[in-house]
């Protein structure tokens, strides 16, 4: 079995502005099915599963973590509507108001001829809106490393490791019970780390 050095763990945030830190337990798995079972079990036992990191999307993890469906499609819809309608408006303005041209005696406002470009702009702006929303909401921007611990809990998560993060809340967390529950989950390793709470 591959062993992990704790120094591979991303360094916890040491911003002086951060007042509070909480302990995080990272359970490292090597199999998506076991990871999913572990998440279900931990949540059933009342532990706070903060996040799961995996090399590929694990089927059923959304429900297991109780995540709300994403609203990303709204960005696509709004972007598409805005792109298409503004482009249609602009084309009409060009051909009716700003510079009317008599082309084969056809009316200034010839809607069918304006459809292709309207469609292209609908798709173009919708695509940019979708990606823009994804990048902004998931804070994806060019930088050398993932943002802060434990967002990238272990280097293996882009290779073959699945990491379940259990957040420790003061008072509501019993280390003994956690050890008892987690030992039966088949984790390769359990790592302790700190997460900054800004």
């Amino acid at each position: 079995m591959h062993t992990f050095d704790t120094h591979e763990l991303a360094v916890p945030h040491r911003d002086p502005a951060v007042v509070e830190r909480r302990r995080v337990h990272a359970l490292v798995f090597d199999d998506p099915t076991r990871t999913l079972a572990a998440v279900k079990r931990l949540r059933a036992e009342g532990f706070d599963v903060g996040d799961v990191h995996s090399p590929f999307p694990v089927h059923g993890m959304e429900e297991a973590l109780g995540m709300r469906p994403t609203r990303l499609a709204w960005a696509t819809l709004i972007g598409g509507l805005a792109g298409g309608s503004l482009k249609l408006l602009f084309q009409s303005w060009v051909h009716i108001v700003d510079w009317p041209m008599n082309i084969g005696g056809k009316p200034d406002f010839s809607l069918p001829a304006l459809v292709p470009v309207t469609f292209e702009l609908t798709v173009l702006v919708a695509a940019f809106a979708t990606l823009g929303a994804l990048f902004v909401r998931r804070r994806l921007y060019p930088r050398p490393r993932p943002e802060r611990a434990p967002r990238q809990p272990h280097l293996g998560v882009t290779d073959d490791r699945f990491v379940v993060l259990v957040m420790e809340h003061d008072g509501a967390f019993s280390p003994g019970r956690f050890r008892a529950v987690s030992s039966a989950l088949g984790a390769q390793e359990v790592i302790e780390a700190w997460e900054a709470v800004a």
């Binding site: 990191h53 973590l65 510079w99 041209m101 001829a113 292209e120 979708t130 050398p144």
Partner: protein, 458 residues
């Protein structure tokens, strides 16, 4: 599920030898992490030389003007537009594989999607060059875009198919690029976590701080689906609009309503042929036989056969309608295609596009690497000649016999065509050295699903 009710013949796995996730990572990353092979360098030098020749000849064309080509008063569109339509067509398979097959949940697309998407980007780049250089004054190419200017403002004519084309091609290029990059973000993260030093930094910047969190994956998968949903009508629209360049004119042989579906089917056909050609080489050179399996090639050959039949049906419909229309110009155009001075080009097209793919009815041909390679290569040739037939043969003899003429390309045009292949292969060869040719996360996902399925069968 019991063995007796299981599908027969048993389905081969999409990833051979049931490797572990770590093995998948290693196998895909290995070609990027070892120095380039001699074969790569030879291929790169050949491609780069062709590209250099192309650049020199484009510079020559811009310097002396379009007179460097064999165009004349009758045949105003020759190699330039033929090559344009050819390359745009090639650029369709990538999005088809990555978007439409994603929406149809075809798992077999995972190993080949990345290379096909890359091919799309490079093919559209090649395509874009030709309308640009055929303008005569390419330094004024920005006039194609509507921007406030000192001439009025004089806007573009939105009622012209040539303007639709500008928007279609540039949108298609941009959205394909976004889709391609989105797909690579988690894979760049994998490369980042394997690399050291400068490479680590480079892949780090490219991976946008990807952390593989379940929340990120949820949004990521949704974004992929949404972009696929956008790209699907887009890919159909692009070649439809390219066909409008022809079908909205009044040239016999161009002025037909069948053109949009005919062009789209032809584009998918030629695109798949090019993907097949490239992947047969890539899987051998990059040693990816375990990930790009015979089953993938088998499926692609089936797509080739199907779209080939659609294209053949379109040819037959065109000929029938030309006769049925009772328009003597239309009838003459088609007679001239088959029996005129360019008859050899017509029959070459018929042979390559209709006769050759018929061998893929047979499983043995679909699984024979030499036959697949030859077949795909011939389809590429045939599809290039299809565009040559449409563009040149329709133009060279139209309504007025006194203006009939022949078109012969000059060496400059041949060199620029060669140069476009140089650009295509140079880009592709650089791509296989920088980015993972097969998507890590998608193959691992397929592997996980395969394992679940295997468990269900036991």
């Amino acid at each position: 599920m019991s063995a007796s009710t299981a599908a027969w013949p048993p389905r081969e796995s999409l990833v051979e030898g049931a490797p572990s996730y770590a093995e998948v990572t290693r196998e895909i990353a290995a070609p990027l992490e070892r120095p380039a092979t001699t074969a790569w360098w030879v291929a790169f030098l050949v491609a780069a030389s062709a590209l250099a020749l192309g650049i020199a000849l484009v510079a020559y064309t811009i310097n002396v003007g379009i007179g460097a080509w064999g165009l004349n008063r009758t045949v105003g569109w020759g190699f330039d537009i033929t090559n344009f339509v050819f390359w745009v067509g090639i650029g369709h398979a990538g999005t088809l594989i990555s978007a439409i097959l994603l929406l149809l949940r075809q798992q077999w697309r995972t190993s080949i999607a990345r290379a096909a998407e890359a091919m799309t980007i490079f093919a559209v780049m090649c395509a874009g060059i030709f309308p640009l250089i055929h303008m005569g004054r390419p330094w004024l190419a920005f006039w194609m875009f509507p921007y406030p200017n000192t001439r009025g403002s004089l806007w573009v004519n939105y009622r012209s198919p040539l303007v639709w084309d500008v928007f279609a091609i540039s949108t298609y290029f941009t959205v394909s690029l976004l889709f391609w990059y989105l797909g690579m973000i988690p894979d760049f993260a994998t490369m980042r976590d394997r690399a050291r030093g400068l490479r680590q930094k480079l892949y780090g910047w490219l991976s946008l701080g990807w952390d593989g969190s379940a929340r990120s994956w949820q949004r990521y998968e949704k974004a992929c689906l949404l972009l696929a949903g956008l790209a699907t009508p887009l890919v159909v629209s692009v070649h439809t609009i390219v066909s409008f360049d022809f079908s909205t004119s009044v040239i016999p042989g161009w002025h037909t309503t069948i053109f949009p579906p005919y062009f789209v089917a032809g584009a998918v056909f030629s695109g798949f042929a090019m993907v097949m050609t490239l992947l047969l080489i890539t899987r051998r050179v990059m040693r990816l036989e375990r990930l790009i399996t015979l089953r993938h090639l088998d499926y692609m050959a089936k797509v080739l056969l199907t779209t080939g039949l659609i294209v053949g049906f379109a040819y037959a419909t065109e000929v029938f309608i030309a006769w049925y229309s009772a328009s003597r110009f239309e009838r003459f155009t088609f007679w001239n295609r088959a029996f005129g001075p360019y008859a050899w080009a017509y029959w070459l097209m018929v042979f390559c596009n209709i006769v050759v793919p018929q061998m893929f009815w047979f499983a043995r041909a679909r699984r024979s690497l030499p036959l697949l390679f030859t077949g795909a290569l011939l389809v590429n040739v045939g599809m290039w000649f299809e565009r040559f037939n449409i563009v040149v043969i329709s133009l060279h003899r139209d309504y007025l016999p006194s203006s009939w003429s022949l078109y012969v390309p000059t060496p400059t045009e041949l060199g620029i065509l060669l140069g476009s292949f140089g650009l295509f292969f140079t880009c592709f060869l650089l791509f296989v050295r920088v980015a993972p040719v097969v998507a890590f996360h998608e193959v691992k996902h397929t592997l996980a699903l395969q394992r679940e399925e295997d468990h269900a069968h036991v």
